[in-house]
């Protein structure tokens, strides 16, 4: 592209960037923003075979993100701004006198300004055997590709280094199915970020996940087998680990060799020395990012300070005035390591004079939170492990005296802590997005001055939220607050078809007794949506509302009747769960998890006769996978004949009520939990709701049924039952809160009736009880007022609605089997009802079957010709 030895001309100065990593790309964007690319030639020498990508999210490659997903460079960015990018061609030599850089290919470019953004390299400790086959580092996409390939033939792996990156690498190995060891020289994990208490909480959680942690020891020697491949690692305490693979993650070192070779000043412990303007000892050369030793004498191993340097350097080169240079940065971090939230910010170790700690620790739950409070009461920093929910709020408060007592900031919700202080309580100078150093003030002005009307627009305008993403929650709240304050009504409508929320639509359907989706769309839809086809969001939502209210508004309770059939998601439409290859799974109801041997035998026989993959679920019942759509009716005919009914595993409806064995058998039990679980499951079966509903009943406080992880959970006491509500497992677990104590059977059921109907009436689409309880104004106290103390006078109505539901319940599968018109839908092909779908195929796996996915990978597959079958 560019001619070698091209000389800089007076009109178009040349800027050369060495290293196209995260900071390099931010620097290029900085040049573009300042219009520099329009008047200067920009040349980028990039060592890696691909343009800049998001190294911070590197590990997400293992959870399915592709190399393209990770790219940081917008399509066409280089071409649009005339930037010359040389991939796979690292700079090898700098001649400062001649002001030229020479790359490996021989390309020599003369520069006016040279910017070094070469990042770091992983430090590999000088352990004997470190070069054996199977030893890796964890820095680039190429490293990950190699690890992934090599791990296919391994059963165990070891990560040397238990810091931030080490834990990520360990998580990746675990995800690849290896038995994983972590070897850390320090006495605790993540020694830099967390203190002793935090390290202990972290360790417990990491060990609970099945990883083996060795702290306070170093790797002494790596032994290889006859082929030169890693087989074991000896540790400094004399022990040894069998391991097939080793990842070194023992810290990074700045890549300053180029700078050393051309005589630039480097720090004693490495790093290219720069001043506040990011200039090295040669004013024509800049260094930014992880390769630089900043003016405060530190090398920053995080992306946010690097981005700040990139902006400073771009300013310098653009000769834009800038009040402050780069004098140091905050090293706060929030990560989700192996699924554990870990955050540290500010003076996490409490080094300031006279500071004091406020600590909350719950080792059972693996939660540890510490705040460091200065002598004047200001928040100086902190460590959060296991629950970093409040990080987004706490970090911007750093440096100021918090508006509430510090102990209230660490107590978990539901333990007397006040509603978390929202972003509205923060001053304008508070930094909301740490990655891009965006203050609350800039976010507000993006809305007020730059007319951004949505979160994505604000992200684009300010860059806030486009780094690690940890500030997104606070950002969304701020943007919505600001929009509302400036009189813009935030569209809270359900979807493009309705400007009402789900709760509002529920009220409309209930009071106007609307039984048809089309009628609701035409009368209450947005103007532009009326008489259209609706959409995939509101159809199932309205179907669910009509189903919950069916007996009350006079609609058919059967979800496949008439128009209702056209509204259901595929799962509800076929009364089974869709699987990845287009087959379906079947989950018969097993109330309370109690089942007779005869019924178990029937399930076994059905699974055997239809070749279904069989698995015990986490919900105390049995899932049968791999049925074709046309097999569902014959399978269910046998199940229904044996007394089974639909388990609604496919619906946003009641799923299971789990139980422990209870008083009947257990020596500790104080109530009959099995009977209560069965009663509850039979009472609420078929109840359709905004999201799925789960429950459990435990026979004593030992809580073997995990009732506090459920939407409504019941725990026996010697006087009756305690009712807990708003529990959740899943991605964002929450323990249920106590709603009422020592209830007798009748009181318990009445209260659950009211609670469920109040939730169904007021929750948003796909909002579990946990999220609903946290969102609604007044929270648990409000719900208690309404359903226990009847503050709104609604209780009688809520109970009547539930009574209607209970009386109207009929098994969906039994009803379906009775009606030939309904059964007509269960065919693979409308014009070949007898023909099975040839793409639903299975291959063997551990004595059972699994989907044959190879069949789905091609653009089309050869299929037996079915000439003639089309004309019936």
């Amino acid at each position: 592209m560019s001619a070698p030895n091209s000389a800089p001309t007076a009109t178009a100065p040349t800027i050369v960037l060495v290293g196209h990593g995260m900071v390099g790309q931010r620097f290029l964007e900085g040049l573009v923003e300042r219009g520099v690319t329009e008047r200067a030639r920009v040349v980028v020498l990039c060592e890696e075979p691909r343009p800049a990508y998001d190294r911070v999210q590197l590990t997400s490659y293992f959870s399915g993100r592709t190399a393209e997903d990770l790219s940081l460079v917008e399509d066409g960015f280089m071409a649009r701004h005339g930037i010359e990018l040389h991939l796979g061609d690292p700079a090898e030599h700098i001649d400062r006198a001649a002001r030229t850089v020479t790359a490996r290919s021989g390309l020599t470019v003369a520069y006016d300004s040279l910017v070094l953004a070469t990042g770091s390299y992983p430090f590999v400790p000088p352990v004997p055997g470190k070069d054996s086959r199977g030893c890796f580092v964890y820095r680039t996409i190429e490293d990950l590709l190699e690890i992934e390939e090599y791990a296919k033939n391994c059963s165990s792996g070891t990560v040397v280094g238990g810091g931030l990156l080490g834990l990520e690498a360990a998580g990746a190995l675990k995800g690849l199915g290896l038995t994983t060891h972590i070897v850390e020289f320090n006495p605790r994990l993540m020694a830099i970020q967390v203190d002793e208490g935090g390290g202990a909480a972290l360790r417990r959680t990491v060990e609970d996940m099945g990883l083996v942690v060795h702290t306070g020891v170093g790797g002494k020697e790596i032994t290889a087998n006859a082929d030169g491949a890693v087989s074991a690692m000896a540790l400094s305490d004399g022990s040894s680990i069998d391991t097939d693979l080793v990842i070194f993650s023992a810290g990074v070192r700045p890549r300053d060799q180029l700078a050393r070779d051309c005589g630039l000043t480097v720090g004693e412990r490495g790093g290219i020395a720069v001043d506040e303007r990011c200039r090295t000892s040669d004013p024509a050369v800049f260094a930014i990012g992880e390769c630089a030793l900043a003016a405060d004498g530190r090398v920053y191993g995080l992306v946010a300070p690097g981005y700040e340097m990139a902006v400073v350097a771009a300013d310098e080169i653009a000769e834009a005035s800038r009040e402050s240079g780069f004098t140091g940065a905050d090293t706060s971090t929030k990560l989700k390591l192996l699924g554990v939230d870990v955050a540290s910010f500010g003076d996490a170790h409490g080094t300031a004079e006279g500071c004091l700690d406020v600590v909350y620790a719950d080792s059972r739950a693996g939660v540890y939170k510490k705040l460091v409070i200065g002598a004047d009461g200001a928040l100086l920093g902190g460590v959060l492990v296991g629950d970093a929910e409040s990080y987004g709020m706490l970090r911007p408060l750093t440096g100021s005296v918090p508006p509430v007592a510090p102990e209230q900031l660490v107590l978990p919700a539901g333990l007397g802590a006040p509603a978390a202080i929202g972003p509205s309580a923060l001053p304008d100078e508070a930094v909301i997005c740490n990655c891009h150093n965006v203050t609350k003030g800039s976010i507000r002005s993006a809305v007020t001055d730059h007319q951004c009307a949505t979160v994505p627009e604000v992200k684009k305008c300010t860059k806030a939220g486009t780094g690690c993403g940890s500030c997104l929650k606070a950002l969304t709240t701020l943007v919505n607050d600001e929009l509302e304050a400036s009189g813009v009504s935030v569209d809270k409508g359900l979807c493009g078809c309705f400007s009402y929320t789900r709760a509002e639509l529920y009220e409309i359907v209930r009071t106007l007794r609307i039984t048809s989706y089309a009628a609701l769309l035409d009368s209450h839809g947005r103007d532009e949506a009326r008489s259209g086809n609706g959409c995939e969001v509101c159809k199932p939502t309205v179907a669910s509302i009509i189903a919950s209210l069916a007996p009350t508004v006079g609609a058919s309770g059967y979800v496949l009747d008439g128009e209702q059939a056209a509204l259901q998601d595929t799962n509800d439409h076929f009364l089974a769960n869709l699987q990845r290859n287009g087959s379906y799974s079947i989950v018969p109801r097993i109330p309370g998890g109690e089942i007779t041997p005869e019924k178990l035998i029937v399930i076994g026989e059905v699974a055997r006769d239809f070749g279904l993959y069989t698995k015990i679920t986490g919900g105390q019942r049995i899932d049968l996978f791999g049925a074709r759509v046309d097999q569902l009716p014959p399978i269910w005919a046998r199940l229904v004949a044996a007394g089974f009914e639909s388990g609604h595993a496919y619906g946003k409806a009641l799923r299971t009520v789990k139980s422990c064995v209870g008083q009947t058998w257990c020596r500790y039990g104080v109530q009959d939990s099995v009977r209560m679980a069965i009663d509850l499951e039979l009472r609420y079966r078929g109840l359709r709701s905004p999201h799925k509903l789960k429950s459990a009943v435990s026979g004593c406080a030992r809580e073997c049924a995990e009732a506090r992880g459920k939407d409504f959970g019941v725990i026996a006491t010697s006087n009756g039952w305690n009712l807990y509500v708003g529990g959740n497992g899943g991605a964002d677990p929450r323990h249920a809160d106590l709603l009422a104590q020592d209830l007798d059977d009748e009181q318990l059921i009445r209260l659950i009736d009211r609670f469920l109907m109040f939730y169904i009436r007021t929750a948003d689409r796909l909002e579990r009880t946990s999220a609903w309880l946290e969102r609604i104004e007044g929270g648990l106290d409000h719900v208690r007022d309404v359903v226990v103390d009847d503050s709104l006078g609604l209780c009688a109505e809520l109970e009547a609605l539930m009574a209607d539901h209970v009386a109207g319940y009929r098994d969906e599968w039994a009803e379906t089997l009775e009606d030939p018109e309904r059964l007509r839908r269960f065919v693979s092909f409308v014009n070949a009802p007898g023909a099975p779908d040839p793409t639903v195929k299975f291959v063997p796996e551990r004595d059972q079957v699994k989907p044959d996915l190879t069949i789905l990978s091609g653009p089309s597959i050869p299929v037996r010709t079915l000439e003639g079958t089309a004309s019936r």
Partner: protein, 124 residues
């Protein structure tokens, strides 16, 4: 709704190699939903009926997962244009053109479709 079995053979036909090919009866379709059908060469198509009674057909294969399931998605409209949302990962496809509305680079084949009462069936 009027799903009464009228049975006056109204056919749903697709234009395949310049010929109209009957895939099913109109009464096999529910407005707002689809069915899967086989073409003579074994290709799977997804056939839909919208609220106004207009029929559409696109490939049954969901290009995002490879599974043959588009016929089981829900219909919707974006402005005037009808679409189906894949039942697996919910990407939407324009029923007239087959273009994916959530990913510009992706499209499935769309077929011309019509309903025909069988009287004027002599369209070559």
């Amino acid at each position: 709704m009027t799903m009464a079995p009228e049975r006056i053979d109204v056919r749903v036909e697709l234009l395949i190699d310049q010929r109209w090919f009957a895939v099913c009866d109109l009464s096999d379709l529910i407005p707002g939903r689809g069915v899967a059908a086989l073409l003579p060469d074994g290709t799977q198509v997804a056939v839909f009926l919208d609220r106004t009674g207009q029929a559409y057909a696109i490939d049954n294969r969901d290009p995002f997962t490879g599974a043959y399931v588009l016929s089981r998605g829900l219909l919707g409209s974006l402005g005037e244009r009808p679409f189906v949302a894949s039942p697996l990962l919910k990407q939407r496809f324009d029923l007239e053109t087959g273009r994916c509305l959530d990913d510009e680079g992706v499209a499935v084949q769309a077929y011309a479709a019509r309903t025909n009462d069988g009287v004027s069936a002599q369209v070559a």
